[in-house]
Amino acid sequence: MITQEKYRTTVKELLSNGTIKMAIGYKPGSTPDRRRPLFIRTLEEADQLVLDSTCMTNLSGYLVTEGLLSDEKRVGIFLRPEGIRSINILAAEYQLNVDQIIIFGFDSTGREVRPLQGRNAEDFTALLSEIKENPPVIHKEPLLERIEKMNAKERFDFWQEEFSRCLKCYACRQACPMCYCRRCIVDSNQPQWVNTSSHTLGNFEWNIVRAFHLSGRCVQCGNCDRGCPVNIPLRLINQRMAKEVIDGFDHFAGLSSTQEPVLASFKKDDTETFIL
């Protein structure tokens, strides 16, 4: 509660002295454990701000809304560490100017929310490096372990079962801060690389392409997973790919705003044990 109050005050202060034109935060949602995005432009709106452990959504995707940052004014945003990483990636991919973003960082353990020190993306570099070196012990995903133990046939069946529910509603895409393309490959029909019918094959292709495009860019904020109306465990694929790039290329997505995209760069001695 104290954190929430403090941040309300801070937001009001920065709004009134013109440092930021808007702050993006959370307000109560439809059920007690859900939160909605809040766009604070006035002091009154700041009073609606809620900040507690249920504020899960990574809000950074709102920053790339067409035109939001084009007036070069600053915008404040409430972000967990994953969200800060998203900001860094968006900056590294030239989708926003990191100097325009004022970060209200927070994290939570259990039900307790605490603020993070810093205002600008670069202030969090030490924190992010610490997370890279010592990843928080999230609850071990029993499902992930189960999948890794399966043989290829079982894994195939497992995922086809999951994907067969996919509706191609693209909520995962809409929820993801990294899916900022003006036109997604799935919407490109010349040629139609991804089958758009909701056959399992098309669903599989869509999810594979999505995961590939997020490889080395996903910060595991969980937006896609929470967004999925049919509960496909998308986070598992993203986690697996994040592991791949960190093991293979020591790439921790979003470590800094100048990080080179992992799949647009290379090292001459990259591993190639799999190549015949």
Binding site: A152, R155, D157, H199, F204, F212, R240, E244, G248, E272
Partner: protein
Amino acid sequence: MSEPFEPKIVAFVCTYCTYAGADLAGTSRLKYAPNVRIVRLPCTGRISPMFILKALQKGADGVLVSGCHPGDCHFTHGNYHARRRWMVFRALLDFTGIPPERVMFSWISAAEGSKFADLINSVTEDIRKLGPFDQYQELIKETESPATL
């Protein structure tokens, strides 16, 4: 009586190294299994993971992707970029149940006609042992059958 299984394999190769290596196998009159269909691209850098998915959709039991050895790329870096993509894509396929044995990667230079022939033979045999990619065929079949209510 069913026909003996003949694997269908699609190979995506760069024109400067592996395609030239395949030509060399031809001019040297080496013999190899007739199961591979080659798609020629300028560089491994041009070979998109989408191509691999489309080959599987076309019923390929195996896919081979091949280009110049590191350092030999006609375009200097294309194969280095490709190598990273392959590694990531391969892990992704593996995790989602596409056996890595069905999607293979190799370096074959313009001088390695015999490596090309040998590799095609061994890849064909490996895929033959794995058998047809039935699981994927099921998916394809589903897309071809009329929708049912």
